[in-house]
């Protein structure tokens, strides 16, 4: 289905109008009550800061995006491998799976300083924090996908004396693709969180200053207008990564989707 420019305009108009009204109200509030810029900068002030720090911001998005992207890629590959091992060995799955679940609940802000102590204040620590936070959604979703049983299809393969390998490659893995896409989408959102938290703790010593570093330094120097820009940039980065993964997933699921929509 193609969307015509007119349809696109009519679906974009309401949120755009709301944005303009909100920004106008924000400006009014700041002017009427004469709010101090370090508490709430005006929209103009924020844009001013964005222009002033544009080089820093663009390079920060680049570094954070790189850490998040690399961490997410490692998570997906490592997560799939782990899930594959879990699906093939019942004893391994039953021993490790409870910990995989439990580790998800450990707050990342508590682990991040430890990672920095162990692996230094560099890019590698940022990526590692990203991997830790985004790995588990991939592992749990893909394991569920690989171990779920479609009885009819299973009977079909058994009737034809399929080997364990054929069953895995021709049935279980393709059946788990939708779960992989779900897991990767969740992981994409978390990867940006992981990268920023990681940068928070690696601090100013890193030459490659990401968004997390700028959040940290903006807070300590009361540059609230810069902080606003960091929040906006981080949001855009998160949305961007999510969209990339979703599009890749949709492409991968081309043959599945129509079937799933009807369910």
């Amino acid at each position: 289905m193609k969307t015509t420019p007119r349809q696109l305009a009519s679906s974009l108009a309401p949120p755009l109008a709301l944005l303009i009204v909100s920004v106008a109200c924000w400006q009014l509030v700041v002017v009427i009550w004469q709010i101090k810029p370090y508490l709430l900068p005006s929209p103009g002030n924020v844009i001013e800061a964005a222009i002033k720090h544009r080089h820093d911001l663009v390079s920060a998005i680049w570094w954070t995006g790189r850490a998040a992207g690399l961490g997410l890629t490692i998570s997906i590959l490592l997560g799939m491998t782990t899930a594959l091992v879990f699906s093939q060995s019942r004893i391994v799955r039953r021993s490790f799976y409870p910990y995989a679940i439990a580790l998800q609940t450990v707050p990342i802000v508590a682990i991040a300083p430890l990672i920095v102590i162990w692996f230094g204040e560099g890019f590698q620590s940022v990526v590692l924090v990203t991997v830790i936070i985004s790995l588990f959604p991939v592992v749990t979703n893909v394991t569920t996908g690989l171990t779920s049983i479609d009885e009819g299809l299973h009977d079909l393969f058994q009737l034809n004396q399929a080997s364990r390998w054929q069953l895995l490659v021709k049935l279980r893995i393709p059946l788990a693709i939708p779960s992989l896409v779900t897991g990767a989408r969740t992981a994409a959102g978390l990867a940006v969180v992981g990268a920023i938290v990681g940068e928070f703790f690696t601090g100013a010593s890193v030459q490659d200053r990401g968004l997390g570093y700028h959040v940290f330094s903006a807070v300590h120097t009361l540059q609230t207008n810069l902080l606003f820009n960091c929040v906006i940039a981080a949001t855009l980065l998160g949305v961007g990564l999510f969209v990339v993964v979703s599009l890749a997933g949709r492409h991968l699921l081309g043959r599945w989707t129509a079937e799933m929509e009807t369910h």
Partner: protein, 263 residues
């Protein structure tokens, strides 16, 4: 005691010989099949008729080797042949792989047997034609097909190994009446051409009488075949048979005998 086609040639042995078969899924519950007897001669078309939940599907899966009976004697296949007899199985649902197109779904059983790709495709195309699908349907995906066409693909997949025995588990139950009648006629045509031994499970009396040479009635609760009706109409049967008075009388008589098994 289980034997698959390795028995020395004996008088009175058919293609399928089940004696005193007992199948139970849990020791606490009464057995699903209990001391069941069934003899099917080579090239015979037999229907197993019974209400839902009486164990018809279990019987079919037991013959196919998907369920191992607790006790009894089961011999499946040509007693004189050393090779394992090929069995085609058509499930109640089409059970197609959504990520494979029609032709790739049909050739799956051959693929699992490591037949060369060229002959896989060749035989799959023959079977596609045999079940009344057009060559241009070969590249379509299951989600693009109607329920009737999916069932045709499922039937073609069962035929692709050139089975001597064809087992059908209420294959047309989900289709509308007109389509079911049409597919019944086509199934008879395929049987006329290839002379497989067919066991057809259904709860539809008219369908069983129209298709088969012999109808076995299964009793709900006892897990046994309790009655048997010979269907004398000559082959090849045409659609016009349904309009004949003898046919209507026989359907009525089988229906009454089926009701008696419930009491």
């Amino acid at each position: 005691m289980l034997r698959y086609g390795t028995r020395p040639l004996g008088v009175g042995d058919g293609m399928i010989s089940a004696r005193q078969i007992k199948v139970s899924f849990s020791p606490q519950r009464s057995p699903v099949l209990d001391r069941l007897d069934l003899q099917v001669q080579q090239g015979e078309f037999v229907s197993v008729l019974g209400s839902s939940g009486c164990g018809k599907s279990t019987l079919l899966k037991t013959i196919a080797g998907l369920i191992i009976p607790l006790s009894g004697e089961l011999q499946v296949g040509d007693p004189g042949s050393e090779d394992r007899t090929e069995i085609g199985f058509v499930f109640q649902d089409p059970t197609l792989l959504p990520w494979r197109n029609v032709l790739d779904n049909i050739r799956l059983p051959l693929e699992l047997r490591s037949v060369s790709v060229e002959s896989q495709l060749e035989v799959a195309r023959e079977c596609l034609e045999l079940v009344g699908l057009a060559p241009e349907d070969a590249s379509k995906y299951p989600r693009m097909l109607s329920g009737g066409m999916r069932m045709r693909v499922s039937l073609a997949r069962a035929l692709v190994t050139r089975p001597e025995i064809l087992l059908l588990d209420e294959p047309f139950a989900a289709l509308d009446d007109m389509l079911r009648q049409q597919l019944n006629e086509e199934l008879l045509g395929i049987w006329q051409e290839l002379h497989q031994t067919i066991v057809f499970v259904t709860h539809n009396v008219a369908e069983a009488v129209f298709l088969s040479q012999r109808v076995c009635l299964m009793q709900t609760g006892s897990g046994r075949l309790v009655d048997e009706v010979e269907i004398p109409f000559p082959q090849p049967r045409q659609a016009g048979l349904r309009a004949e008075a003898d046919y209507a009388r026989l359907v009525d008589s089988v229906s009454r005998r089926l009701r008696e098994t419930v009491r």
